[in-house]
Symmetry: C2
Subunit: 353 residues, 2 copies
Amino acid sequence: MYENENGSGKGGVRLERDVVVTEVALRDGSHVVAHQFTIEQVKNLTGKLSAAGVPYIEVSHGDGLGGSSLQYGFSKVNDIELVEAAVEVAGESAISVLLIPGIGTIDQLREAADVGAKMARVATHVTEADVSKQHLEAAKHLGMEAIGFLMMSHMASPEKLVEQALLMESYGADAVYVVDSAGAFLPQEVKTRINLLKTNLNIDIGFHAHNNLSLAVANSLVAIEEGANRIDGSIRCLGAGAGNAQTEVLVAVLDRLGIRTDIDLYKMLDLSEEVGNTIMQKPQEITDSSLIMGYSGVYSSFLLHANKAAKKYGVDARDILMELGRQKVVGGQEDTIIEVAKQMALQKEGTLR
Amino acid sequence: MYENENGSGKGGVRLERDVVVTEVALRDGSHVVAHQFTIEQVKNLTGKLSAAGVPYIEVSHGDGLGGSSLQYGFSKVNDIELVEAAVEVAGESAISVLLIPGIGTIDQLREAADVGAKMARVATHVTEADVSKQHLEAAKHLGMEAIGFLMMSHMASPEKLVEQALLMESYGADAVYVVDSAGAFLPQEVKTRINLLKTNLNIDIGFHAHNNLSLAVANSLVAIEEGANRIDGSIRCLGAGAGNAQTEVLVAVLDRLGIRTDIDLYKMLDLSEEVGNTIMQKPQEITDSSLIMGYSGVYSSFLLHANKAAKKYGVDARDILMELGRQKVVGGQEDTIIEVAKQMALQKEGTLR
């Protein structure tokens, strides 16, 4: 039922695994702790994740290398120091960094490689793969695994997604990830896309899920069934929005299905409890706001602005988010949010007259 | 793709819905609040669930009518008073009660019917449907919808499950539910079972999911795809173990799929926030203990006893739970738990020598 990709490994961390897990709590989870991870926390988690056999561990600001800023939130400790700390205790695991061109630079990628990062995930909006060319090439040149990471994938048609993934393949990417940033995909939509990518690409396919519609683990299973062999997870769901696919749950479910991750479940359960008790300031539940983000398909950064605009113009923030989703608005376009709210207020006024 | 069961409704609450949702926060969620629901809470939630268009609302002790006891935990307010309070504000919604023969009695069912409960869900272990006969017949006699509720369904083969469901059908049940009490089902297992039931039964099929493997919503979708048209949900997941399929998420996802529940999403989101702020003492996360229960397939009541036995005999509680799952131990068989722990300790000692 499941394809076995044994032996196609790069970098020596693949072993006999059917599915290669990248733990993103120390990157996507950075959003949850307002980018305040300490050296001690990074070392502790990395050491224990490595001991549990997690092959890749991503360490970066939530918005990638260079994300520490007024706009995205300042980190407590800079990325390179955190990466260096992680590398020291990573053992057999490889440390990954995320890079969003425009936020992070090739210089920062070089610094990360210099301190021992082995994998670079170059992230662009799903329709903007062309901006990843230099960065993917730079990663290869630096001797890193180079991964394309197509964010907000649900905004593109399956055909557009394949076109963009092929661009990343042509730039030398070792794998391309379908990234469900808003947690908006339904299982059938994942199935169609991974299937089409598998047919058209010759490199590994990855899937990165968020749990806004409570489908992160299920969508990851569908992706694996269709041939994806790289899956992201986050211990205790630590990540933006409603959080990610929960790593320890993925490990348990894949084990039940006979799909090898070579990750020790009990060690992950111990770490899950520790993370719950020590790192999490609030649980990763599906709240009204994270659900409406998955439902409307907009990114979590819109929420604060939509709430402000809703208050100012006397409309429902959820209606604003739904309209932004329909218009497929991307990035942090506050102007659009205000414009949508204004229009809604005018329409409402017109209806009331 | 999805069957439309329009017009097959009983009791006038079905309307044009494709899927009929029963909200179980005021029954399964009773476990979460140690059975301390007040009249005010039940009225508030029932009124708002009714206003949102939820067709069925279940109100009972977590272990059903008569559950209030030293063994299962005493309720703050007795079941019949809570049911009566709910009925007062239920509007178009029907109030359901759960009854586990052996815990609750036919007298209690009559009392519930007398104060206006419209549906009785008679719950037995998946292999013990025969004990539901009198109670299902009594429910019909009392003019209630009579529903069979096969708990711990994952413990039976698909064929055994069908055999037991057919028994309930023969006793006059209007529907039979596949109940994933331990949150242990994988999607393919749900698919096989619902498909086989749909082929063999002439009554409605229901599905009740728990989220221990993060698959509650996904498994509910699979059940619907295979022909189930009654689905349980719990607002904010309020329920035993890792909680239930989250009702507001189900509503959003089914809406995205074009499957009608006729439930107002925004009203459910408002209620979700209120429940999160006022009723929940702790979030419904998937913790190390709820995950191991879904993984091993044992019921949540085993956990405390397994932890005690683990401490006493110096073994890992998770290994005890896994062994109990392998032995398909049911009910609150503390003797078995201690026996398993003892054997493990002896084996461990033998290995160490």
